[in-house]
Symmetry: C2
């Protein structure tokens, strides 16, 4: 006789296998699929999403979870089984509060909205996009309504990406980040920027592909558990913890993408790679939140990948790939080139410091849309004002402003803050890692990233989605989410790179 | 209010989308997947198969089909909707006759059997494989029992791959093929074989990849609806009719695979590519049987790909890819080299003529296993005797004999005859095509295969799985399955190539 716990696990193994298929279909669509397959692929993906959702909201699953909760009542609340029931109870209850018609309407409006956005962005025509945006916001407000009462109307949205995170908790963190970064960026903008000419030039794509492979070989993921492909918008996806698909793009005129996009995506992949095998193929068998995921990609990209020891170690590889460009470049010059700060208009091209301000602009606007202070029509003006205030840049048109990102077009409100959260968490983790690994710089400089990977695995990766973000931060640091380490490290780094007093 | 017909279509759209995902997982496993993904992939594929099967045998689907049958009662029986109900009624009824426990046991024994077979074949140890084979045969006999009463116990097996085909119908066709081919092959074995040295040598793999791409570019499938990848055992799969995945392998010492395996697999892909768009994403949206599928791959491989005009057209491409090997080879020499007949031990390496005898050996043994004349332990002796009688070759060990194929290890009885059926049907179709397209040779010689593709599409491809094999042969030829055209064409071709009287 199977226990209710076993039956819950079996259900989620099926849901997880559907997720495996969905991830593969998604990856294939972006890296391998002949263009003729697009229409059929949309239909197949929609069907798999619907089947998964039907399984998650099934009444008999909810019943089995309640019975299983009784079965695990005496277990250690931090045991895998107790946590599995806690997480699935929470997730299925949330999913069951949304009527199927609303969910279908959200999906439909997102799909229509994305198509409209593509055209509107091309012509920088916010007016043409506005009705679609208004529809998405209207539906998202209705979605929020399903979770009343809530502390803040933005909470249910944020919670979709950062389980348990509250707006009241996030707001002061991002405000402190904004207030710390804005003056720093102002000081840097007034100073002499490091020369980054060596990263720009003419880099044949085949050689960049070789370089990207070398970079990936230096990341501690077993070669038979991952692959690297080219795509338009780089991403990483886990088909299974031992089947990781990393993608990148190459720019003929800039070699940085072949290095840092690969390290970034490999950081995501390494997180999934480290999840305890006993959690795989189940509801805890993935990273715990988008913010924590981004903490891993950002840490590897920025704190490892743009560090002095890493770049000194990489330099011979760069020189052998591009002797003309890097033959006479020294390690210090490369380090400075990799750490130039420059306020700009486009988020995805922003450097490590200004990036957070791009996110804060979006976060403040999103909160405004849901607390009743802002309507979609007002977004361009509010966007442009903030870009001026926080980053000191003038937005010339909406294509370079409010229309630049796909998220709102696809109805994804509450997603943006997780990017900045990733940086904040990475800052906290990096301080801990430095303390735990006194020879970290030496290890990175010798091309030995395994001790850092092992530390991260033990502290974070292996737990998968067992804990909520706030719990995990508490377990790691003994305290709450805190932007101070990130600000402290950015201050120190740039003061040195820019030679500020 | 949705009609029952609409609800049946909706169910099968979902089942078809699961098929889309399964095909992609299968293709990815064989062409892209990092080895670390193998275990998770098996589980995901098993789950998708189980979900599909549960949907096919669901009681409410059976009810909806019965209600839909009433709705379509007055339609033209050859209309898409009437055929859809006829086919789904038949397929679901067949699936519902097999108890779930037996189906699970069949899958388990097949998986265990395949693993045991890999080891047994390596050591040429039939004894080690025998218990697994016995278990597969026992379960297959039990499976057959689910369909009693039947005309012949082999019928339900054959029907899984060739819907509606009966053993009584197939037996005389294959016997006539055997009796026609054996003496021909004996005569050819006694004659001077054509020199095929130009196909053997040292062909760098990169250049073979280029050659394979050129060959595929000459096949009329839109470039944005297919791709070509490398694999161990070539196959083609349809993710959707406009998303076709063709695979091949390359042999350093033999250039033929890069040509004929690609044409063969492209023949399969072209069939799926030609299915009417209104049948896609439904139960009729695929080729009608394995035999008909093989008729397309074989026709393109052998009747087009080994023809004088095709090879004369290909020769400049071969010369530019491999100037040393083909610089001084003439078109006639290439044609003769491509049409050498040689009795051999291994089916997958056999030529066009002897191939059918390999199949007939297997067919006769399979029929014996299910009509009570033969037990698995007797297979090696019976195999070797037939190889001697029909092909004149001595089997040195079971690895080169009864252990060479995976089919029986995986419990696939009834599959082999479809290979020979494909050749027989291709022979019938080729005679019709020649009559319908008087300039066929000229078109092929000018690199214009579109008229042949269009004719096949109109006669066969567009109908998908609307008709059963026997009906389709009747529609095409006005008569039954008939090996005479194939025998006539092989006789004529080899008499000329071998200069026989």
């Amino acid at each position: 006789m199977a226990t209710a716990l076993e039956s819950v696990k079996e259900r989620f193994a099926t849901i997880s296998d559907l997720g495996h298929a969905r991830s593969l279909l998604f990856w294939d669509e972006r890296t391998q699929m002949p263009p003729g397959g697009a229409h059929a692929r949309s239909e197949a993906l929609a069907t798999l999403a619907r089947l998964s959702h039907e399984m998650v909201i099934a009444d008999d699953l909810a019943d089995a979870i309640e019975r299983a909760a009784e079965e695990v009542r005496d277990l250690d609340p931090d045991s895998d089984d107790a946590r599995l029931i806690r997480v699935t109870r929470r997730d299925t209850a949330k999913a069951r509060r949304v009527p199927s018609e609303l969910r279908a309407e959200l999906a439909r409006a997102a799909s229509v909205g994305e198509q409209a956005w593509v055209k509107a962005r091309e012509r920088s025509d916010f007016g043409a996009f506005l009705p679609h945006l208004e529809r998405n916001v209207e539906l998202a407000r209705e979605y929020v309504g399903c979770f009343a009462p809530y502390e803040h109307p933005y909470d249910p949205l944020l919670d979709d990406y950062e389980p348990g995170m509250r707006t009241a908790e996030l707001k002061p963190v991002l405000a402190a980040l904004r207030d710390g970064l804005s003056p720093l960026i102002e000081r840097l903008a007034a100073a002499d920027p490091p020369d980054n000419a060596c990263l720009h030039g003419d880099f044949p794509l085949a050689a960049q592909g070789e370089l990207a492979r070398s970079v990936l070989d230096g990341i501690p993921i077993a070669a038979d558990e991952r692959r690297l492909d080219e795509t338009v918008h780089p991403f990483a996806t886990s088909i299974a913890p031992t089947d990781l698909r990393i993608t990148t793009r190459y720019e003929e005129g800039y070699v940085g993408t072949a290095v840092w996009a690969v390290i970034h995506e490999a950081g995501h992949a390494m997180y999934e790679n480290g999840i305890a095998p006993e959690l795989a193929r189940g509801p805890l068998g993935h990273g715990l939140s988008l913010g924590f995921h981004e903490s891993q990609s950002r840490m590897w990209e920025n704190w490892v990948g743009r560090s002095r020891p890493y770049l000194a170690h990489l330099l011979p590889t760069l020189r052998s790939a591009f002797p003309d460009a890097f033959g006479t470049v020294g390690a210090e010059e490369l380090y400075r080139a990799a750490n130039r700060v420059e306020p700009s208009l486009i988020r995805v091209e922003a450097d490590e410091a200004t990036y957070n301000l791009h996110i804060i602009v979006r976060f403040e606007l999103e909160v405004g849309l849901f607390n009743g202070e802002l309507e979609p029509a007002e977004l361009p003006e509010e966007w442009n004002r903030r870009m001026r205030d926080y980053l000191g840049v003038e937005v010339p048109d909406d294509a370079h402003g409010v229309l630049q990102d796909v998220h709102w077009a696809g109805g994804a409100f509450g997603y943006f803050p997780t990017y900045a959260l990733g940086n904040v968490i990475a800052g906290q983790l990096w301080e801990l890692a430095r303390a735990a690994l006194p020879d970290l710089d030496g290890q990175i400089g010798r091309g030995e990233p395994e001790p850092l990977r092992d530390w991260l695995r033990a502290q974070l990766h292996r737990h998968g989605a067992k804990f909520e973000p706030a719990e995990m931060i508490e377990r790691l640091t003994g305290g709450p989410l805190d932007p101070t380490p990130l600000l402290r490290q950015l201050e120190a780094k740039y003061a040195e790179v820019y030679g500020l007093g």
